[in-house]
Structure formats: C-alpha cells, structure tokens
Symmetry: C2
Subunit: 380 residues, 2 copies
C-alpha cells in the first residue's frame, strides 16, 4: 500500500514540523487532528460535513467494528471506506485500549488477550496476527499493532512486563505484514518511566515501522509527567517517520505536543464535549445549557466561521440542548470540530512562519493557562 511521509518544514525554535502523509486514500497534512469515528461514523456527522469542516483523516475503532458489524462483513461490503462513505484516509487503532477500558474479564497471555464483549458478554481472543487480519479486512490506511495500555499508577514491574509484551506483539504484527497491507505503526508504552519508555522506543525503532505512536498517556498521570514522557520519547523516534500521540486531547496539550515533535492526534474530546453541550471558543470553553445563554443572540464564538456560528444563536443551541434535540449534537459537533481543525490550521501557519512558540503563548493567555514550555525551550 502506498504510504509516504514528507517533512515540508522544520521549526527553527522547537521540534515541531510541517508534514504530509500520503496514503492510498489521499494525503493528510500534519500537524493533524483525527476525529474519532468509533463505530463507523464520527458521531452525528456525514462525511460531507467532515470535509466541509476541513477534516482530512479520521480514526476508526477496531474493537467496536470487530464486534459489530464485524470486520468480515465490512470486508465483503468493500471495506470501511465504502461501508461508511468516507473516502479519505482512515487510521484504525488495534482495539487494545477498548479491550481494557470496555471489555470485561480481560486475560493477557503471551499469545494475546482474551476478553468478553461489552455488548453481549460473548468471549473473544485477539492476537497480534488477528488484529492485523481485522485491519486488513477493513482496508484501513494506517493500522496499529496490538498493545496493552496500562493504567496510571501501576507497579513498575507490571509496566515493564507490559511494555516488553507490547514489543513482542509488535514484532509478530510486523512478521505477518504483507506487501498490500495498510501502513503499520508501532506503539511506544512504558508508563511514566523514562528507562522503560526509552527501552520500548529503541526496541520498536530497531524493528522498523512506518510510524510510531505514543500510547498510555492521558490516563490519569500529572500533565507535567505526560510532557516529560513525550519529550523523552519523541527524541528517540526517527525524524523521518510520523509520530502519533494517541487519545490526546486538550488544545493546549496538543500544541505543546506539536512543539515536542508530535505530528498527529486523535481524541473524542471535541465530539463528546459537543454532545454534552460543552463548546470550545477563542476565549475558553462554555457550557451551552447555562441560563445566561437563554436569550443570547450571539453565535457561540463571534470569531468562528463554522456552519453553526454562521447561522445559529447561543439561545437556539441552548434550546436544542435542553430539548434533547438530535440537531443539538450535530451543530455542537460541527462547531467543536471546526475549532479543532482551525487550531491545527493556525498551528501549521505558525510553523510556516516560525512563530509556533508565540502562537502557544497567545493561545494560552486568554484561556488563563500558564504558558509553561519545557525548560530547554523557554530561552527561545
């Protein structure tokens, strides 16, 4: 399968870079945010709406799609792109994260992981080879290796054993990878321990993957630890392959991570928040259900050009939310995703103009955030 990563520009003042990832379903430009299409749809939106917002690639959840409708059915219907009518790049995770967060009675062995479905309690056993088969059948563009994501905090020995297991599973994924298979990314684990992260990264890099993800972050550890882990880990990953930070996150964390050399992200935050009535604006988050918006004729964000802000008042969005109207989820999701995609557009512009650190500071201030940069960057 066609897969290529090109670095267009490196930032002079940080590890950030502008890049472009080419896949069989077209390119996406980095830094990038991939909305999550859990069960074959980015909740509430059509592909056309995602394109209008400016989304270039999305994520699908292997765990969910494997359980329902099943990868074989998706394969027989022409793959995930044809099934869902999303024609641009798709990355699928390996299912590991959901097995541990949603499944029950998980049991990890050298061979793989056994678990029971959260849907009907049925028993399943996923191996590295099986998750390759599933992602192959779905015709994804970027596949992830099977990994175990450990909670925070966990005992050092457990984190160590788990990271080593993830390394051996990654190798088995690579061994069964075929010429026409999706691009394959490994996942660096190792919790908040520098030696484990470094060891895991080195092991995986030696095997040679088409990209590297940083997993097991944003699972409860303090933010400063997350940034430390990111800094140690990205330093060990090859320059010429994409770096993917899984499940992160908040706008300020993503800007920070881009500064530390991360190329793309996925997170349910903007879409889940939208359905809960929490909206991102240029001056902070707002909760649209609040009484103060009952007669507010203004759009969510007067500086925003999204469909929702062009046509609807806060008062109407509050009304839809309180009335539990389906359109509430749609309009809120359009706005939040537009906010995210626009943030990445501005980050790309900032890197282009070598002004990313300024952008970080200017983003942090109106949100009342401490614009703390890693020590070695503060002098810039």
């Amino acid at each position: 399968m066609a897969f290529r990563f090109e670095i267009i520009k490196k930032d002079s003042f940080s590890k950030a870079r502008l890049g472009r990832i080419e896949t069989n379903h077209g390119p996406f430009n980095t830094p990038a945010f991939l909305p999550v299409g859990t069960q074959g749809s980015v909740k509430s939106l059509t592909p056309e709406e995602l394109v209008e917002i400016g989304v270039e690639a999305i994520l699908g959840n292997t765990y969910h799609l494997y359980l329902r409708p099943g990868h074989e059915i998706i394969g027989r219907l022409g793959g995930l792109h044809a099934f869902t009518h999303w024609e641009r790049p798709i990355l699928t995770d390996s299912g590991g994260f959901q097995i541990f967060s949603l499944g029950s009675l998980q049991k990890v062995s050298e061979e793989g992981v056994a678990f029971q479905s959260h849907l009907d309690g049925s028993s399943h056993f996923l191996t590295p080879e099986k998750v390759m088969e599933i992602q192959r059948a779905m015709g994804t563009d970027i596949a992830m290796v099977l990994d175990e994501c450990v909670p925070y905090p966990s005992p050092y020995e457990y984190v160590k054993a788990s990271a080593e297991q993830t390394g051996r599973w990654a190798k088995r994924c690579l061994q069964v990878k075929r010429e026409q298979d999706p691009a394959l990314f490994a996942i660096v684990q190792g919790g908040v321990h520098r030696d484990l992260r470094e060891k895991c990264a080195q092991t995986l890099v030696e095997m040679g993957f088409q990209g590297y993800a940083i997993g097991g972050l944003s699972v409860g550890e303090p933010k400063s630890m997350m940034l430390d882990v990111l800094e140690w880990t990205t330093s060990l990953l090859p320059e010429n392959t994409p770096r993917y930070l899984m499940g992160v996150g908040a706008p300020e964390d993503m800007i920070h991570a881009v500064i530390l050399g991360v190329d793309f992200f996925d997170c349910v935050l903007p879409t889940r928040n939208a359905r809960n009535g929490t909206l991102f604006t240029s001056s902070g988050k707002i909760s649209i259900k609040q009484a103060q918006y009952a007669e507010d004729p203004r759009p969510v964000d007067e500086t925003c050009a999204c469909y929702t802000c062009r046509h609807y008042s806060r008062a109407y969005l509050r009304h839809l939310y309180l009335s539990k109207e389906i359109l509430s989820s749609r309009l809120n999701t359009i706005h939040n995703l537009y906010y995210y995609i626009n943030l990445f557009r501005k980050m790309k512009e900032a890197i282009q103009k070598s002004r990313l650190l300024d952008f970080y500071k200017s983003h942090a201030s109106p949100h009342g955030l401490e614009p703390e940069l890693p020590v070695h960057l503060q002098s810039n």
Copy 2:
C-alpha cells in the same frame, strides 16, 4: 401579512387541485406535505437538508414552543424563522392537540383551557386570544385557531358541545386578528357525525377564514369513517381557500384525501418512523433492523435518488441503527422525507396530466392495498 391561494388546475376526475400558497416567507405548492418541526427543528435535520429534499413549508408546535423556550423569547430573537434558520413558510398549530395528548389535568371552560405542562407540571391557561398572541410573537406564516380535539369514540353530546366551543373560540381568534397577523385558519371539528361536521363547517365558513383545516381525524376511527368525514367536510369548504388535513398521515390516506379535495398535510409519521428504523420504499415499508439486511449492499430503495440511497447500503444503515448512532436517525429521516416529498411531486404531476386516479391505483397495488375509491369516483 401577505397571503394568497391560487388554484392552478382542477382535476377533471376528482376534487383534487394543484395550487400555490403565497406567504411573507415565499410560496409553497399544493398538494403539499409539511414535515413537523416540533420544538424548532425537524428532528435531526438542518434547514439546508430540508430544502435539498424539496420541503417547501414546515409545521411548528405552539404547545412545545410556548412551554420551551417560550414565545416571548422567540419573538425577541426575531421570530421562529430567525431563531431556527428556516427561511421558508411555517404553519403553527394552536397547541390544542398537544394540550389534550401531552398535558395533564386539562380543564376546558368557555374562557379557554387550563392544563399542566408535561415538562415540569407548571400550570397554564390558554385562551383563543392567547394562542393568537403566541403565534403572532413567533411570526408564523399560518396560524391556527384554538380548538379541542376529541378522542374517538366520544358521546355525541360531548362532540357536539366541543365542536360548538371550537366555533366560538374561532370567532374570538378572528376578532383579535390584526392586519399584520399571520394568515388564520379555522379547524372543523365534529367527530364522525355528519350533522356536526356540516354545522361546524358552515359556522366557520360564514365567519370567513383564510383557510380551513379538518381536525379530529386519524384519532382511532375506522379508515372508511375518516374518508366519509373528509368527503362531507371538503364539500362544504369554499373552493378558493386551502384545505388542510391535520395529522394525516399514511401515503395512501393522503392520496385519497387529495382526491377528496385536501390541499396539504402534516404528520410525524415519516420522521418518527425513520427514528424507529421503519423506512418507506416503492415496494412497501421495511424495518432496517432486520437480520436479512446485515450484508445487503443495496440502497434502501433502488428507485430512490435521496442522499441516503445515493451513498449508503442497507447493511450500513442497519449497523448505524443497531449501534444507536445519531447518524442513523439523520439518514433514515432524509430518506423518508424524500419519499414523502417525491410522492407529492408525483401527485402534482398526475393532477397536471389528469391521471391522479390512475396514480392512486398504481400506488396502492405494490403495497397490497385495496385501491378503493369513494363510490361516486369509482365509475371514472
């Protein structure tokens, strides 16, 4: 307010007619189907999607909008059109139907109707004058008089008293109507009793409204009775004003009603069915959740040109439905409304070509329906 009804063509073989209703928010062509925008949105869809489907006018529920967010707020925000971003004609009902079906502790007096909100139990009192004020504040294009919709079956004396009450309330609505108010339609009640329907229709026609609705049907009475009532009632309504059959309904009933001289309809059937996974097709209704569609690559209806049928398989729609994805409601609603609007497009063409009775028969056959026409039309 601008309001005009023009009859473009009368059918030679039935009481059907092609018409055009002009309002301050543009025209809509009859026979017409108005989707229901209960709480300020046609559930799950944007105005742009309604326009793409071909919807020319929608209905809003006064009961719901009065209770939440309140007509005064809607008024201060520029009216229902500005609030909801729907720029074409809106008809609002008077709230009567919902007071009796959703409210509790209803108490009808000469003055009006007291009830408790289904939302929070708060007490309210609506009078004919108040429903005029509410609809005026919302800036609707067509307002309805306050009426009482009696269940079927009900004692003759109760139906009689109620129809007379509806007549007196209609008069009070007319008395407070101002020059710039929405067009005002009266509602013929009288249950399934010919003398009561005739008396109510005559009383209202003598008062002189801009249009007449037929209410209190499709409330449990046998279908043959409904058609009898329709035939008696439409005969007594003036040729040159529009006739509106409230809350009906099923495609075959609407075709039948058009043959009997009805000009437009509203009903939650296509939208509610859509959310429950029941889809209309040219060969009958299907329930998308059925196992037989699990791998069905075909669109819902191979003869349908809607967005849903152009891009998605039955298998995907089944998957979305079973996964409780919001997109399921959207795609199903788009399809069902398109089916309805397309049915009306075909009815208009048939009237234009003087082939409506043939169209009725050809529609009924594949659906296994008895194409029974009223006796006096069967000879045609």
